[in-house]
């Protein structure tokens, strides 16, 4: 080892590192919009379509003349399913590219990773996925569901005679915060409905778990003790082996219905749904919802997928997080129009009470204080064509309760967004 190479090495690595300084390219009279979704790594499976949906929505807004007379310029980055990289890319979008707003994140951990950055730099993030709640940052707008907008109505449905009148509940989830918190809220809720602990079984599997033989056998055993429903918060990739095992071991929806909170149209694309007919999912939107806004939305998306030659374009589907992305971008655009500027504080103010006619068939409103949307809840049954048939829905959009009343201590939380929660 000689000194010379040491020094050479230093110079080279420093020059590479310093490249970061000269990235931003200035373009005139556009509003930059950041898109922070993983395009590679494990989360690419879910997030890629959100990136495409965001690009489509931006294209549509631009086609109508943009916002405040300026075109939107999307800046797409790939945080590669790497959580620290989310924070780094978030900071880059806000400080180097100087974007007005960022649409992105899927997993809770990625949101938690970027949150300090957005709070520090006073950025604006739109988060489009259903999540566990327990958070309300002034720098984030949550366009997905809070637990009370998804989980609790679903369990109420299962309890009802119509939903099969389940007496026992098998809570199955991937071991991370969203299932844990959701199940905790559900357990408290079930207790309040008189379900005893012996009738609740809580099981967690690791990420990417692929062998559900033992678990399905346990479900069967548990179900022998009375009318049982499975409440699944199993994360994306593990669903296929889970459902396949369920079908092959002869557990039918009429015996033991499974209601899932993370399985939508996009996930069903990877599954043969014929053996799954009758299993349920709870969301705030289904592609099969019948209304003119949705027809337009679905058609636009299919046309866009075809035009951009996206992989699997012939089978393109829409789902809840895609709708939430779509709604989020439009609401932000409306708020910018209203505020007349992209200044974060003014836009935040303008967003309160903003409403938008969404593909779900409802006019969704951004809550005045809590940064969450008022959303309808729908229960859909899996059909053999990979779509859902809505079997139950709330009469009107529900207000989100990000601080669930079923978690002790939350009653002291303020009902407005505060930094650092």
């Amino acid at each position: 080892m000689n000194r010379r190479s040491l020094i050479k090495a230093f110079t080279l690595s420093a020059s590479i590192a310093a490249m970061g300084l000269s990235w931003s390219i200035q373009a005139a009279e556009t509003i930059k919009v950041g898109i922070l979704h993983s395009l590679s790594g494990t989360m690419a499976i879910s997030e890629t379509s959100l990136k495409d949906m965001a690009l489509m929505t931006i294209e549509q807004i631009n086609a109508k003349g943009g916002v405040n007379g300026k075109l939107l310029e999307p800046v797409v980055v790939d945080p590669a399913s790497n959580w620290p990289l989310f924070a780094e890319k978030g900071r880059q979008l806000l400080t180097q590219d100087k974007v007005a707003v960022v649409f992105g994140c899927w997993t809770s951990v990625s949101r938690k990773s970027v949150l300090p950055v957005f709070e520090e730099l006073n950025g604006l993030l739109f988060y489009p996925v259903q999540y566990e709640g327990e958070e309300m940052s002034p720098n984030v707008f949550y366009t997905g569901a809070a637990p009370n907008q998804q989980a609790i109505p679903a369990v109420e449905y299962l309890m009802s005679e119509e939903g099969g009148g389940a007496k026992r509940y098998f809570l199955l989830g991937t071991d991370y915060v969203y299932p844990r918190t959701t199940n905790k809220i559900l357990r408290a809720f079930l207790h309040s409905k008189g379900v005893a602990d012996k009738d609740i079984e809580e099981v967690y599997t690791p990420f990417g778990h692929a062998d559900y033989q033992t678990i399905v056998a346990n479900i069967k055993k548990f179900a022998a003790g009375g009318k049982t429903a499975v409440i699944s918060t199993v994360n994306g990739d593990s669903n296929v082996p889970f459902y396949k095992e369920l079908a092959n071991q002869g557990l039918k929806a009429t015996d033991v219905p499974v209601v899932a909170f993370s399985v939508g149209e996009e996930e069903l694309r990877g599954i043969d749904t014929k053996p799954l007919v009758g299993h349920l999912a709870a969301w705030n939107y289904f592609e099969s919802v019948q209304n003119p806004v949705n027809t337009q939305f679905v058609n636009d998306w299919k046309a866009y997928a075809k035009a951009k030659n996206l992989p699997g374009a012939d089978k393109a589907v829409t789902n809840d997080p895609m709708e939430a992305t779509y709604v989020g971008i439009h609401m932000w655009a409306q708020a910018v129009e209203k505020a007349g500027t992209t200044d974060v504080d003014k836009v935040r103010e303008a967003l309160a009470g903003q409403s938008f006619k969404a593909p779900s068939g409802y006019t969704l409103t951004m809550d005045k204080t809590n940064h969450h949307l008022h959303k309808p809840v729908m229960i859909g049954e899996i059909q053999d064509d990979g779509q859902f048939n809505v079997v139950w829905e709330t009469e009107q959009p529900l207000r989100a309760q990000p601080w669930s009343p079923f978690i002790p201590g939350n009653d002291k939380r303020p009902d407005y967004a505060v930094k650092g929660n």
Binding site: L39, S40, T42, A44, I45, E47, T48, S49, E161, E162, G163, G164, G165, D175, Y204, T205, P206, G208, H209, A210, D211, Q213, T214, A217, N218, K220, K221, A224, G225, G226, D237, V240, P241, K244, E245, A247, N248, Q249, G250, A253, T254, D255, P257, E266, E267, R269, G270, I271, D272, K274, P275, G278, L280, L310, P311, G312, E381, N389, V391
Partner: protein
């Protein structure tokens, strides 16, 4: 006029059926429920076609109106249908119906079931019906009936029987001491049978997991075990095999829908060819330059795996693709009331053993196998003896990759098919090969099944995660004892 009336009269059953259907589809869910319950208690053979149609989500063939069912209605419908099927002339249909009723029969059906039981001629159906009745008779007022029912339930290994007996034994439910004692005996009997089924089930899960590990690792046993290439792209060969299966499925569905049932069989050679082809290409372009530098093959093949993953992602999308089980791989074999062996898993166990046998024959009974073994043991010497080492390397690597492709076909039947498929198997595959002893096919076989069974035995006790961690720790300890794996070559090896 009279003729018209007569015709109408003749058509009456049809008409009633049609009107029942019309009524059903327009009725409110609550009315539908009571309708179905009523029909279940008093079955009418003429209603069977309607129920069949309803079960398929329509009211009549050709009627395009889609019937919206929910799970409750579906359950009731199945019960009602079974109730009607008891009137069938075919014993097999009646048996299936009786088995369905064991799960779903309601007290209101007792009278009807009693009648059928009395006139049932087929012994098997009669026995099944007896159980249906026994389930319901636990609530009968006469202790003698209850006693008979309890004894009958003791004969089954049905998990529901356990729940029913336990409910009966709750304090204050059963007052008759004779029945109580009999129930206790029966419960113990049922529990024993259930435990037997559970243990069998665990053993089967272990075998099944082992067969999957084996299929995943077998290709690696050749590319890594014999050629010494730390092939981090091995997982991607599995993935290519799975995607080949998907493409075959799509193509057959489009061009030869008649053969769709057999697409996995057609996919086998295709997957082998695709993976082997890609493998040979890689060997010729990259890996051949790296023999004897095992740790560097690790880096290069890691690069290859990144490229393959992203290529597939761009070609097929980041989402998983749908690979459906054909009918003969769907469902399972009901061995015991609490033990179903899925056909797909049974077939995969058989397939894994078949592939091992094939590989063994290839390596030990063919010229190519001899050459491969010669080259892997002493490359220079083999070259001196006129073995075309380059070609042998290529073919051996192709063989390993091709076998991985075959593994991919099997994996596509039980799990996800997505760009990341290979990544989830790579560590397990390496562990199997290392544990078995590098270069030892038999070692890989034992290691795969050993790991599979150990995993499945531990999982119910301490959970999937801790089980896996414990297994990893055990492997690390085991390697301490036998650094060369289960089946190591002993002797005067100079390193």
């Amino acid at each position: 006029m009279l003729r018209l009336l007569l015709t109408l009269l003749l058509l009456l059953p049809l008409a009633t059926q049609a009107s029942e259907g019309e009524y059903f589809i327009t009725a409110k869910p609550a009315e539908q429920v009571s309708l179905l319950e009523g029909w279940a208690a008093q079955p009418d053979a003429a209603r069977l076609p309607l129920l069949d149609n309803l079960h398929q989500g329509r009211i009549a063939e050709g009627d395009t109106r889609k019937l919206r069912l929910n799970n409750r209605l579906r359950g009731l419908l199945e019960n009602t249908l079974a109730s009607h099927q008891l009137l069938s002339d075919v014993a097999k249909v009646r048996l299936a119906a009786a088995q369905q009723l064991q799960k779903s029969a309601q007290p209101a059906q007792v009278a009807f079931l009693d009648r059928r039981y009395a006139i049932e001629a087929d012994a098997a159906v009669r026995a099944a019906l007896g159980l249906v009745l026994a389930n319901l008779q636990l609530a009968a007022p006469e202790p003698s009936v209850r006693l008979a029912a309890v004894r009958l339930l003791g004969e089954t290994g049905d998990p529901m029987a356990r729940t029913r007996l336990e409910a009966l034994l709750e304090p204050g439910v059963e007052t008759d001491t004779n029945v109580r004692t009999a129930a206790e005996t029966s419960l113990a009997q049922v529990k024993r049978k259930l435990l037997f089924g559970e243990l069998l089930g665990q053993a089967f899960s272990g075998l099944s997991l082992g067969s999957i590990l084996l299929l995943a690792a077998l290709g690696l046993a050749i590319t890594f075990g014999l050629l010494g290439v730390i092939n981090m792209a091995h997982g991607e060969m599995l993935m290519l095999g799975a995607y080949a299966t998907y493409v075959v499925q799509v193509l057959i569905a489009r061009y030869a829908p008649g053969a769709i049932e057999f697409y996995p069989l057609i996919a086998l050679p295709v997957a082998f060819a695709v993976s082997a082809g890609v493998g040979m290409l890689l060997e010729r372009t990259v890996i051949r330059h790296l023999y004897g530098r095992p740790l560097e093959t690790l880096l290069a093949t890691w690069g290859i795996s990144l490229i393959l993953i992203q290529a597939i992602r761009l070609l097929f999308g980041a989402q998983n693709v749908e690979v459906a089980n054909p009918a003969w791989l769907s469902g399972g074999l009901q061995v015991l009331p609490n033990l179903v062996l899925p056909y797909s898993r049974l077939v995969i166990i058989g397939f894994a053993l078949f592939v091992v046998l094939l590989t063994w024959l290839l390596l030990n009974r063919t010229r190519l196998g001899l050459n491969v073994r010669a080259v892997t043991q002493n490359r220079n010497m083999a070259a001196c003896c006129g073995v075309p080492t380059g070609r042998v390397d290529m073919l051996a690597f192709g063989l390993g990759s091709g076998i991985a492709g075959l593994g991919g076909v099997a994996l596509s039947q039980i799990g996800n098919v997505g760009p990341d498929l290979g990544q989830s198997y790579i560590i397990d595959s390496f562990l199997v090969v290392v544990l078995g002893g590098v270069g030892q096919l038999a070692g890989s076989l034992w290691a795969a099944f050993g790991l599979g069974i150990a995993n499945k035995l531990l999982e119910p006790q301490i959970g999937a995660v801790l089980g896996k961690i414990l297994i990893l720790a055990l492997i690390i300890l085991f390697i301490q004892k036998r650094p060369q794996g289960l089946f190591a070559l002993k002797g005067r090896v100079i390193d």
